[in-house]
Amino acid sequence: MKQNVAKDRRLKRSSAERGLLAWRVVSRPRRVVINLSLIFLIAGSAYDIVTDQEHWPFSQYPMFSGVWRSPTFTWLRLFGVTADGHEFPLDANRYIAPFDQSRLPKALRRMLDERDGTARARAALADCLARYEELRRDDRHDGPPIVAMRLYELEWTIDPQADNLNEPDRRRFIAEVRP
């Protein structure tokens, strides 16, 4: 028993010594810089995790952390309007690049939640319309030329097969822009 304890101590000491030796191979100024960067990473991350905040690139990584209970959900979606009045959803990233179908609706939602929300959203739609046409001219998507862009809020009941993708339960018009 005693022998085992002594052996354990020796092992611990040699392990600690290895740690200190590892320390010595790196020069002192570099050691300071490296340790500060390590502490910065750990402390910055810990702060965001504990306070449930986000300071990119630090984050508490909250994506999908809530429980989704509702059988329905709403989402903002852009629609293009062709010269003959046909309306079609811009539901692929290629129509709105470099935005995507997550970031753009969330950006528009944040705008709409502000006091002059509709005016801001109209300005944003004008940008998106110009971008759509630019991408079309560059053959970056196969969409038709459009004469207007509309913003709707769509509401779906979540279908077990997602078959109602193109048939939302409700569609609320928010804004329209023309060139």
């Binding site: 611990k12 392990s15 600690a16 290895r18 740690g19 200190l20 590892a22 320390w23 191979v25 790196v26 570099r30 810089v33 490296i34 960067s37 390590l38 990473l41 750990i42 991350s45 995790i49 449930d52 300071h55 990119w56 690139p57 630090f58 984050s59 508490q60 990584y61 994506m63 999908f64 952390s65 809530g66 429980v67 989704w68 209970r69 059988p71 539901d91 692929a92 990233n93 470099p98 935005f99 995507d100 179908q101 997550s102 970031r103 753009l104 609706p105 969330k106 950006a107 939602r109 944040r110 705008m111 300005a123 944003a124 004008a126 940008d127 971008r131 779906w156 077990p160 097969q161 993708l165």
Partner: protein, 433 residues
């Protein structure tokens, strides 16, 4: 107590490790990032009107603006060039610093447009760690240039400098996974697992609401099999929450690191969010030097080659040193014609001393291994082409070396270069101190 804690800290971060592992991580990480980012264009972000500008704290605090498309175009050219140079390891330290600074700006820029996404946070941390590191000491052009200048065929000794950047990425990844698991438990508790939550999320993702489309529609099938969805939810929370254990336990690492990768692939496949850049950081979990050693030990990549070089010629010595650093499979051996001639001539009496001094010679299969059909001797361009068969980097050039006409040009080019070589025009570099 404090001393023990300090020792433990130091051992974790600064335990001596091989330069080749960090060098390979650098090469693969920046190489993948370069290829991934090459088609991505950041310039349109500069064209949006100010209504879209909702700065995140980093840009807000330091007053960093969205630059014009023209300026962004130049920034991204510089960034992608820096990524390429960081990957190949040329001007490695400044290239990695530029890659970190410009990448931090460009990758952060889209997050100022309404939503902060999380697929690139780890890339920023990994770039930062590498920018501070000595990752260019191996597997880089800088290392080859340095080795040839210092006339040192030996790779750098194991050092703590080659460990901490890798562990930095480990810790950053463990914090990301751990935080995501903790967030689920904090906001939803076990309801996240035992309710129909994941089934609903999987179905909702089919309505074109993600930054990337799910690669398959298998999410619908999973959502319609509630026990399966709950098992997946439990696995997700378990992998994320337990991932930090991978930092301290090798057994946990063997399970959690592949599980974490499978989890990210599962997210991409079933739900859509694009974590490809996050996945690139998995290269830091592979003990590359041990992988290379195992490959060398178990697989024979062609016959050994004995490289005969003129040790009195600086160019030839440098060439031999560079070959020795590129010889990842350990198939090359070396003999200096000037100093080792008596031994060489006794073993290979047909060798001509003057010819060996004039051209680099390679003896294929010097041990006369019957598996490879006996000894053969090649010289000049053909010697280099023979070496290319057993040096991994040479495999890139090998197909071109056999294109009709290339050998003719190569032999004449080599002849021209070798005939203009003298001991005064290519002095022997001084040995490394």
């Amino acid at each position: 107590m404090i001393r023990a804690a300090v020792a433990r800290w130091n051992r974790f971060w600064f335990e001596p490790g091989p330069a080749s592992t960090l060098g390979t991580c650098r090469l693969l990480f920046f190489g993948f990032l370069f290829l991934w980012q090459l088609p991505h264009d950041f310039t349109p972000w500069g064209a949006y009107s100010s209504v879209f500008w909702m700065p995140i704290w980093l840009f807000d605090t330091f007053g960093i603006p969205p630059f014009t498309p023209h300026t962004l175009a130049w920034i991204q050219i510089a960034w992608k060039a820096a990524l390429f140079l960081s990957a190949v390891g040329l001007f490695t330290r400044p290239a990695m610093t530029i890659a970190f600074v410009l990448g931090g700006y460009l990758m952060g820029l889209p997050h100022n447009f309404g939503q902060t996404q999380h697929f690139d946070t780890l890339v920023v941390f990994a770039s930062g760690a590498l920018a501070l590191s000595r990752a260019g000491d191996a597997c880089s052009l800088d290392a080859l240039i340095d080795a040839s200048a210092r006339r040192s065929a030996h790779p750098p000794a194991d050092d703590g400098e080659y460990t901490w950047p890798i562990r930095f990425v480990w810790v950053a990844m463990a914090l990301a996974f751990g935080a995501a698991g903790f967030a689920k438990l904090r906001h939803s508790g076990l309801e996240w697992i035992f309710s129909s939550n994941l089934a609903m999320l999987l179905l909702r993702q089919q309505y074109h609401i993600s930054d990337g489309e799910p690669l398959t529609n298998w999410g619908i099938w999973v959502a319609n099999h509630r026990p399966m969805a709950q098992v997946m939810a439990a696995s997700a929370v378990a992998i994320e929450s337990l991932f930090p254990l991978a930092l301290f336990s090798r057994r946990a690492r063997y399970v959690l690191v592949p599980a974490g990768l499978a989890f990210l692939i599962g997210i991409r496949t079933l739900m859509g969010p694009t974590f490809e850049q996050f996945m690139m950081c998995y290269v830091f979990w592979v003990p590359w030097s041990r992988v290379f050693a195992a490959v060398r030990q178990r697989i024979v990549f062609g016959a050994e080659r004995l490289v005969l070089y003129d040790g009195g010629c600086g160019t030839c010595s440098r060439a031999a040193i560079i070959l020795s650093r590129l010889d990842g499979l350990g198939r090359l051996r070396y003999a200096d014609v000037t100093s080792d001639w008596s031994i060489l001539s006794s073993i290979y009496p047909r060798l001509d001393h003057d010819a060996c001094l004039a051209d680099m010679h390679v003896i294929v299969n010097p041990g006369d291994d019957p598996r490879w059909g006996g000894v053969s001797v090649v010289a000049g361009f053909d010697a280099y082409r023979s070496v290319a068969w057993v040096v991994p980097l040479g495999w890139i050039a090998l197909p071109f070396a056999y294109v009709p006409g290339v050998a003719w040009i190569g032999r004449r080019g080599y002849r021209m270069f070798a005939s203009h070589r003298t001991t005064t025009s290519c002095p022997v570099p001084s040995a490394a101190k």
